[in-house]
Symmetry: C2
Subunit: 320 residues, 2 copies
């Protein structure tokens, strides 16, 4: 399905151009930067922000700036994430920590973070600064909570949902909220509707991501299959499968947690399928997608409403 129309495609180009112009001064950074931004992701977060701020196109230069800030913040967390996870690949290409070193990953992440903060301050809007600085802190909190659970043999659904919110939902929420604040500072209802919508969309997006890591076709998402399992992380499909498993099956599944060596992944995938892990995850996903649609339907601005509903549909159907 088509995620974005031409007007947003143009605006995303402006976002990427702004990001590039902010970075090209330093040659030492340029080389790394090209490497990180060569492969664009889905850019859902800047898109969310651009849609939320679309009611006032006169403010497009600030709209683009907010979207660029959000993409920079997201990129910084990805770069640090790859160091934390020791990921060899991201979006089908080698990660910075793999191609250069962990040190490059840490410092380049810091550089991008602080660049985002400079651009934020430049907006001179304390409400937006407040939301984005809190969101950034929540994201790192989510990462620390997740790190604390690595290697644990059991987690709760509440813990998984909390991590999905902090790690993903929180920046989706902030993206939409800041776009809305920019153009409708005094319309509390609009701000609250788009923020709640985006929060639930983000959680759904993370659930889908976790599902795709357990799907046979996950080679398409540019990451190795069962990456979470290999890193010792329990995500939704494994959680639901273990919940339905008897003692033997549970031990069998747990025995793969954190195993980095090669093995026949289909025995794991089939067990999880047989125990209903994928089915239950799909149900949870649908639940959050429906919540997001219900919230989107409360948005009075027709165009914003329809574009947000389109994002829900895309997030549900995407196969990579």
């Amino acid at each position: 399905m088509k995620l974005i129309n031409n007007s947003y495609k143009k605006e995303l180009q402006l976002v990427n151009r702004l990001i590039k112009s902010e970075i090209i001064n330093e040659t030492v950074i340029q080389e790394l930067y090209d490497y990180i931004f060569k492969k664009n992701g889905k850019q859902l977060r800047p898109l969310l922000s651009l849609i939320a701020s679309s009611p006032d196109k006169r403010k497009t230069s600030k709209r683009v700036q907010i979207a660029a800030i959000i993409e920079l913040l997201h990129t910084a967390t990805l770069v640090h994430d790859d160091v934390v996870d020791e990921s060899p690949l991201r979006r089908g290409a080698k990660t910075i920590n793999n191609f250069w070193t962990n040190s490059h990953g840490v410092l380049m992440g810091d550089f991008i973070y602080s660049k985002a903060f400079m651009l934020m301050v430049d907006l001179s809007n304390l409400k937006i600064l407040n939301e984005l600085s809190k969101a950034t802190n929540d994201i790192s909190k989510g990462e620390l909570i997740q790190l604390d659970l690595v290697g644990k043999k059991e987690v709760t659904l509440d813990e998984l949902l909390q991590i999905s919110y902090f790690k993903t939902g929180r920046l989706f929420e902030a993206s939409a909220k800041c776009g809305a604040i920019l153009v409708n500072e005094n319309d509390k209802k609009y701000i609250s509707n788009v923020s709640s919508f985006a929060k639930n969309l983000g959680i759904a997006f993370q659930i889908k991501d976790d599902m795709l890591d357990y799907s046979q076709s996950s080679k398409h998402i540019g990451k190795p299959t069962l990456q979470d399992l290999r890193e010792g992380k329990i995500t939704y499909p494994l959680y639901f499968a273990m919940k339905a498993a008897d003692t033997n099956d549970k031990r069998f599944l747990q025995s793969f947690l954190g195993v980095q060596t090669k093995y026949n992944t289909s025995i794991v995938l089939e067990k999880i399928e047989a125990l209903g892990g994928n089915h239950k995850t799909e149900e949870l996903l649908l639940n959050y997608i429906q919540k997001s649609k219900k919230l989107a339907n409360k948005i009075e601005n027709k165009q914003v409403r329809e574009e947000m509903l389109n994002l829900s549909k895309f997030s549900y159907e995407r196969t990579k």
Copy 2:
């Protein structure tokens, strides 16, 4: 010598209490946090900021908040630095990356950074936000430039001074500047004098740090001796020694760059001493100390001036 009087001791206690109260909510973070902040450093940066803002004691709650922000920013860079350098020790205690993992170092650094930004936004002062976000970006730029030079067999004095400014001088400068902006927003002369003073003090501080790493008594600074050399970094004493060396001596010195295994450090220390590396570094240090004193003497407020001169004296004489 005595670095601080009792009134600043009390204010630094307020700084440390504020830092603690900002962090204790999350148990997952608490444990790491206690670990990082158990050993306080010299806290020169928050002290600089408190002195620069001392002319208006009615603003002490904001003065303390700025000092806490600066200490948090500094701590975040230290935590990330230790990951980058793979340092086993800091201030005589095991580093986070050593005691836990690199991942903990990366994420805890991010958490502290974003906490600092939240506290910054809370000040609602765009001039201060502007200075601190730029300084943070410059620090990471300095780290990237330094990383780029690791393993190189030659560097220039300009490169070393640029790194000293970005890595150390820049946050010294921002500390004093933000303190000054808080209490004397319209006194450009005061702001400029304390900022330039602090910038040069910071560069001097870094030169002294590099000297101490080559000093026989450097075990007192809580870091292993010749740490920079082991990490493949050329700093001032080695730079000046190589500049005075003949081809053989130069090759001899270069052969130790990046060598991590145990060796008799005195053969290196003696060679650098014989080639005048320490002496020349001491001259450079004195140069920056004198610059800083000259700038301090331009500060009209007598108490601020004397306390700043005291910091120059301390930075010159310190043995750890």
